[in-house]
Structures are given as C-alpha cells and as structure tokens.
C-alpha cells in the first residue's frame, strides 16, 4: 500500500510540474492563445477517446454514437450553468451524470445486440439524441445555445488526467479484466461465470459519463453550441482516434488523438487539401498497420526501462561481435 502512495505522490508531482510549465508558457505567450486552444481541444478529445476505448477497445463493442453522449453532457452542463447559475464543477458533474444515466437507459436494451447491429442502433440513438435536442426550444433548438466560456486550461488538464487514470484503474481492476475477457471471447467469458451483459452495460455507462464530462468542458470551451457539432462525423472522429491509436491501448489513444486533433491545424497551410489528406492518412494507416499505432501495448515507465535495457543489451552484443 505504501508503494502505491509513493507512486501516486510522484505522479501528482510530475503532472503538477508539466502543468506549471505549460501554464507558464501560456502566460508568457510562448504558446500563443490559438495554440493553447488547440492544446485544450486535444485534452477534451483525449477524454472522449479514452472513454470510448473502454467500450470499443477493451470490451470490444462497436458503438457509433459517442458524440450523442457528448451532446447530452454539453447541453446538460450548459443548462445547469446558465439557467440554474450553478458553479462550473457542479455543471460538469451534472453533465456527466445526465449522460451516464441516459447511457445506461440506452445501453440496457441495446447491448443485448451484437456486432454490426449494435453499431447501427448506437448510430441511430446518436441521431435521435441530436434530433430531439434540435426540437427543444428551451435550449435553443437548431439556433444553438450560448454558454459562458468558463473552461480554462487547468480544468481541462485536471479532468483529462483524472479520466485517464480512472479508466486505467478500471481496466486493471477485476471489472476491467472481465471486460477484456468479453472482448476476447464472449461465449468463453460467459462459461467462466462472467455476466457479460452486466459488464457491457457498466462499460457503456462509464464511457457515457466521461463523454458527458468532455461535452460539458467542450460547451464551456466553445462558448456556443449547436446540435450539428455533435453529428455522426464527430462520432466517427472519436472512433478513428481509438482505432488509429490501437484498440485496447490508452496511451495509443492519447497519441492518436493528439495527432488527429493537431493535424487539421498543422495542415492549415494546405487548407484546401487538408480534408483530403486526412482520410488518405487514415486509409494508408488501415492498409499498412491495421492494429493501430500501439496495438494493445501501453507506454509505461517499466516498458521504457525494459526497452532501454534491451537497447543496451543489443549494443553490448554488437560490441562483443566487433
């Protein structure tokens, strides 16, 4: 147990340091406000990608409606913070809880389905959520909803790190192991006494919760939300970042999300062609490295140590040969 606290402390120290350095750069304009916004967007997208990875990568259930849950979170948080004048943290949690609750309600019937049928029903639910939001006058309908821009860098940073570590520890727990066993072979998992349906609903609910948090952050980041921000293409973006990073690799998702979010901005000089280059990269990636950047591997301190040792070992051998 003592080891755990030491690790936790070191972790907190490292991330505080990273945060302070980034924050210092932002304050002194080394990272200009435009780039700072991209960094914040990357953080929000990481929460979305990591949460979807729990369902798609670790539990092996293909869902195509993740942006719908982001929309629920965004609108719920916006309503709580604008109409009820609640503090930002309360609004974010409310967004997460609303999204998680609706996620569970949708998950209960839908997760009985498998494979492509699950994909298409979640897609359908994503569309229904948007269509319903479009028809509620109270939150602006298709005209959109104006939200005070309360999301600052520290909010995004803290929630991104928290989401990553909460989901990471879920995966390492016995619940997470059960989810992975469903991905590997659902029938075998059931035979071993794992209630597959229960764990699927659990993964789906947790993922919806974090999507809701990300939605709340996004709403208060963007300052103005309309339903079509959260359309099918947004869901596709999230799925893409998970698949590119490697289904079943959280660090892969982080890398892929960073690249995918930055890429359109980095290609701005080629602005006319960036929406053509982006799918071509996707196609090339799927063609030549279908398991994604990281496969199911993770970047960890232990892994880096091992890699370093291996490198050293190889070097030693080469020297001996010479």
């Amino acid at each position: 147990m003592k080891k755990f606290y030491v690790k936790l402390l070191i972790g907190i120290l490292i991330f505080t340091l990273i945060f302070l350095v980034l924050n210092y750069f932002m304050d002194t304009d080394v990272i200009n406000p435009y780039k700072a916004r991209i960094i914040m967007l990357i953080g929000i997208n990481i929460i979305l990608g990591v949460s979807l990875n729990l369902v798609l990568g670790f539990t092996g259930q293909l869902t195509l409606g993740h942006a719908g849950f982001m929309a629920i979170g965004a609108y719920a948080a916006a309503v709580v913070s604008v109409k009820l004048q609640a503090p930002f943290l309360v609004a974010l949690i409310a967004g997460g809880v609303a999204s998680g609750f609706i996620g569970m309600l949708i998950g209960l019937p839908v997760l009985k389905l498998k494979g492509d049928y699950l994909a298409i029903t979640t897609l359908a639910f994503g569309q229904i959520i948007l269509n319903v939001i479009n028809n509620i006058e109270f939150i602006g309908g298709p005209r959109g909803f104006s939200v005070p821009p309360k999301t600052t860098f520290i909010w995004v940073f803290v929630f991104t790190i928290l989401s990553y570590f909460i989901i990471n520890s879920i995966i390492k727990s016995s619940h997470g192991r059960a989810m992975v066993s469903i991905r590997e072979d659902e029938i075998a998992a059931e035979a071993m006494g794992i209630n597959a349906f229960k764990y699927k609903v659990m993964a789906f609910t947790i993922a919806s919760f974090f999507a809701g948090i990300a939605g709340g952050l996004f709403a208060h980041f963007q300052g103005y939300i309309t339903p079509n921000i959260f359309d099918f293409m947004k869901s596709v973006d999230i799925v893409t970042s998970v698949v590119l990073g490697g289904m079943g690799s959280l660090s892969g998702t982080v890398i892929a999300t960073t690249v995918i979010t930055y890429l359109p901005e980095g290609l701005r000089s080629l602005s006319e062609y960036r929406m053509i280059i982006y799918p071509i990269l996707l196609i090339i990636m799927m063609r030549f490295r279908p398991k994604g950047l990281m496969g199911t591997n993770e970047i960890s301190f232990k892994g880096i140590q091992k890699f370093y040792k291996k490198l050293k070992g190889k070097g030693g051998k080469n020297n001996a040969a010479a």
């Binding site: 798609l56 293909l62 019937p109 839908v110 009985k112 389905l113 494979g115 492509d116 049928y117 994909a119 298409i120 029903t121 897609l123 359908a124 639910f125 569309q127 229904i128 948007l130 269509n131 319903v132 479009n134 028809n135 029938i187 075998a188 099918f232 596709v236 799925v239 893409t240 698949v243 289904m247 006319e272 062609y273 929406m275 053509i276 982006y278 799918p279 071509i280 996707l282 196609i283 799927m286 063609r287 279908p290």
Partner: protein, 293 residues
Amino acid sequence: MLLQQVINGLAQGSVYALIAIGYTMVYGIIGLINFAHGDVYMVGAFLGFYAVNILHLPFFPALFIAMVGSALLGVIIEKIAYKPLRNAPKINLLVMAIGVSILLENGARDNHIFGPDFKAYPAIIKEIRYAITSKASITNLQIILFVVSIILVLILQYIVFWTKTGKAMRATSYDKDAALLMGININNIISVTFAIGSALAGAAGVLVGLVYTTINPYMGIMPGLKAFVAAVLGGIGVLPGAMIGGLLLGLVETLTKAYISTSLYDTVVFGLLILVLLVKPTGLLGKKTNVKV
C-alpha cells in the same frame, strides 16, 4: 391527402431501396457496412449531371453513363481499399470504409472536381402533373422514378437468381471457402457485387437529381445512413428485405412529416429501426444464425 403522401413516400422509398440494395449485397458477401456507398450515389448524381450538361445527352444515356461510372468507382474502391483488408478484423474494414467515404465527400468538394456548392439539376424531362383524384396527383418524373426502379430491380432479380454469376454470388455469400473449393473466382464475384450495387446507387443519384432537382457533394450522407437503416430494417443480406425496408422507410418518413411532425421524422425513422431490432434482431426478413463455439 393520404394518397398523395403515399405516392411521395413511395418515390422517396424507391430511392432508399435502390441504395439499400447495394448495402445489403456488399454486406451479404463480405460482411462490411460499406459507408462509402452513400458517396457512390452522390458521384452517380454528379456523373449524370455532367453527362447532361456537358455532353448534352438525353436522360437514358445519361443514366447509363452514371451507372457505368459508379460501377467502375465501386470496383476501384473495392480493389484498392477493401481487398487488402479482407482478412483483417471487421472494425478495420469499417474504419477504412469511413476513410473512403470522407475522401470521396471532400474530394468531390474540391474545386477541380465537382465544387462545394449546390447545383441545380438540368430539367431534362419537363414536369407534367397528372391528377388522380381531386386532392392527389402524380408527376411524370415520379412515374419515371418508379418505372426505372422497378426495371432495375427486375434486372437485378434476373441476374441474381437466373444467371451463373448470380448463382456464384449466392454461393459466395453463403460460404466463401466452400465456393472457392467449387471453383468460383471469389475476387471476381466480389467485384461484380460491388459493380452491381454501385450501379444501382448511381442510378438512384440521377433519379434523385431528376425528381428533387438539386445535388451537392454532401447529399450522400443522410440518404446513405437511411438506406443502411432500410437494409437493416428489412434484414441485412436479404435482397427483398432491402427493397421492402427502403419502401417502408420512405413511407414512414413522408407520413411522419405530413401527420406527426415536420422536424421529428429522423427520430421516428431511427426509433422504428431500434424497435424492429429489439423485437426481431435480424430484421423483418432476416434469418436467424446461430453462433458456434
């Protein structure tokens, strides 16, 4: 009033049916949700547009050119994008399909190709309205839409159920490995499947341009999704299912617009899909398959 809505619904439904057939054929044969299919339909519409505007062709040759062009596009997509991934996990194929779809949409938006703006479809055939009753009428364009769709579907039925190629297609979709052992060239059959499905989507594109008069590079997204819903509704992989699903979807959508709400029709359409899947997960005409350990 009701009769009029049914006519409009069937017109919309036959478009969905034509696109849904392509989805269902491809799904039946390689188990892929071909997200790029809606964009093949878009390309078909544009090919028809240019055939009329630049080559000054009459309607039927333009339709033919659009169908051939779309078929070629479908085969090229299959050869370049899907064939290398045939043994990869399904999700990779799906992401590949999504990539192809985004590429087609944004490629088409490029100024050197089709351009981003809405284009008015040339009025090749003058619209004439025939009154059926005092409140309901049907236009000659709608009649053309029905007749062409029916003829195409009949040709498809002939190909699938009466020719050797069709027999090979059915065999491949039933069991790929066994079909291979029987001497069927699977690669050719899959290409033929893509060609036929894409040709039908291209035809749907031209027909939509003719009846609904505007086209744009993003026109394929929603009809693509809806057509896929139609295919699942009827039972994916089953040809008559796709047609029935398409017509049903068109009817439900139009009737909802007319009698329930003009803006909530998406909810009703997708809600119907979810309801059908929850009650009968394989769709209306689908067969139950057992998972073997």
